[in-house]
């Protein structure tokens, strides 16, 4: 399956993602600049992305942990998600997200 990730310069990248894997891993493996400091444990918020409006309702809701950790992120929007908390499923094929600004 594939996802389209828009980087912080506005360039769109179509990436391969593995079913059952985390979106964060697909972004990292493609060499796009997210830090993912905590290794996908929903601690650091450095894998923050904005999910395309058309897709946001198709994702499972944020967990309480994700809501709390998003507090550490900057420029949080209603479409903000931590990409380590998005598990790729068939239903998310062709998902579109944008990398959020890095927290200072």
């Amino acid at each position: 399956m594939n996802v389209t990730v828009t980087d912080r310069d506005g360039a769109a990248h179509r990436l391969a993602a593995e079913e059952g894997g985390k979106l964060m891993e697909a972004i990292r493996e493609a060499g796009l600049p997210i830090r993912a400091e905590c290794g996908g444990n929903c601690i650091c918020s450095t894998c923050h992305v904005y999910v395309d409006e058309a897709w946001i309702d198709r994702l499972p809701a944020r967990s309480n942990d994700e809501v709390e950790t998003l507090d550490l992120a900057v420029e949080v929007r209603p479409t903000s998600r931590l990409s380590c908390q998005i598990v790729m499923t068939e239903a998310l094929d062709d998902l579109r997200v944008t990398l959020a600004p890095e927290a200072p």
Binding site: E37, C38, G39, N41, C42, I43, C44, S45, T46, E68, T69, D71, L72, P104
Partner: protein, 350 residues
């Protein structure tokens, strides 16, 4: 730096305060403490409003405190009762008096709005009142030149124990055991079990474990500056983790009652509580020695961190790793409570 104001801060051990006026500092406020003739505690701003001399350099006259410079005298409520050389006492000749309490061996102070001071909000350690099952030992006051939240980071972080305290409280068996954390009201709990591994040095000395053990870390943090660390050991497989009957093992609570002094220093008033060798003073002393050793190891690192923070003057950014969930949550909670308090102040003013 911003601090919670409407809360009870631990200030010192109760044994430290007697009939000698004594200065202590909490959240950048200098306070003079003394006891009245009946033993009741008094806490006043430690500055005479006349020439700003510290009142802690003064002398007690009965229940009142006389400034050591010109003899202005204040009662325990901070009201001026005498000005040598004049009869009239102006209304603004007063010092702030703080709500203060003696509880579980410590002096507690409420720096915020005295009308909101509520004894029911004092931190309580239930085991302190149960000598039939627990032995309490009040330890020492350890001054650490680090921001109190750096110390609080350390006390919501079981992961450092495997590396910092290998001669006392930890060993390598826990290096890769994940840490779980949760928020319970205004508390943070960080915990993990390390199963079927070797006993740590402190329990090897105090216990008689033959083989591998299960051990636990339950780090309780109470905002803004109290940490109670429940750690212990039992024969492997003895305790059902879900039932949580940790009293079947050797169980110690290391209690840290932290006084934030200013932005770069704090005092860790530590104590310990245990469920074995009750009343045995040799065991009390042995645990105190081991903990003092371990806390000096923390002090060395935390003071060095503070020096780096001073040098960076806010320009650095710390990595946030998988093991940091408890500490990050703790900091978020303290920040949130400061915000909440600001909201209360706005409401009160409005």
């Amino acid at each position: 730096m911003e601090y919670m104001q409407d809360t009870w801060y631990p200030l010192c051990f109760a044994r430290e305060i007697g009939r000698q006026p004594t200065r202590r500092t909490v959240i950048e406020k200098n306070v003079v403490l003394y006891r009245k003739e009946d033993g009741a505690l008094v806490a006043l701003d430690d500055m005479c409003p006349h020439r700003f001399a510290p009142l802690s350099l003064g002398t007690l006259r009965g229940d009142d405190l006389q400034c050591g410079y010109h003899g202005m005298t204040f009662n325990g409520a901070g009201k001026c009762v005498r000005i040598p050389g004049q009869d009239l006492i102006p209304a603004n000749a007063a010092v702030k008096s703080y709500p203060v309490d003696e509880h579980i061996g410590l002096v507690w102070i409420w720096p915020g709005d005295a009308l909101r001071a509520d004894r029911a909000k004092l931190y309580d350690l239930a085991q302190y009142h149960d000598p039939a099952r627990w032995t309490v030992v009040l330890g020492e006051s350890l001054a650490i030149d680090t921001n109190y939240l750096n110390l609080a980071d350390n006390l919501t972080d079981p992961a450092h124990v495997s590396f910092v305290h290998v001669s006392t409280l930890g060993n390598a068996a826990s290096e890769n055991v994940p840490v779980k954390h949760e928020r319970i009201g205004d508390q943070i709990l960080v915990h993990r079990w390390i199963l079927d591994g070797p006993v740590i040095p402190v329990f090897a000395k105090l216990g008689s474990f033959k083989g591998n053990v299960d051990r636990w870390h339950y780090y309780h943090f109470h905002t803004p500056s109290i940490a109670v660390i429940d750690f212990g050991t039992a024969d492997a497989g003895l305790i059902d983790r879900e039932l949580g009957d940790r009293d079947r093992g050797m169980r110690v609570f290391a209690c840290h009652y932290i006084t934030p002094v200013d932005g770069r220093s704090c005092i860790d008033h530590w104590a310990h509580v245990r469920n074995f060798a009750l009343g045995d003073e040799a065991v009390s002393a042995a645990i105190s020695r081991q903990l003092a050793l371990a806390f000096d190891e923390d002090k060395l690192i935390l003071e060095a961190i503070q020096r780096e923070e001073d040098r960076l003057a806010g320009s650095g950014r710390k990595l946030k790793l998988a093991i940091d969930g408890g500490s990050l949550r703790m900091r978020r909670l303290v920040g949130e409570m400061i915000e909440r308090e600001r909201g209360n102040d706005v409401k009160a003013a409005g």
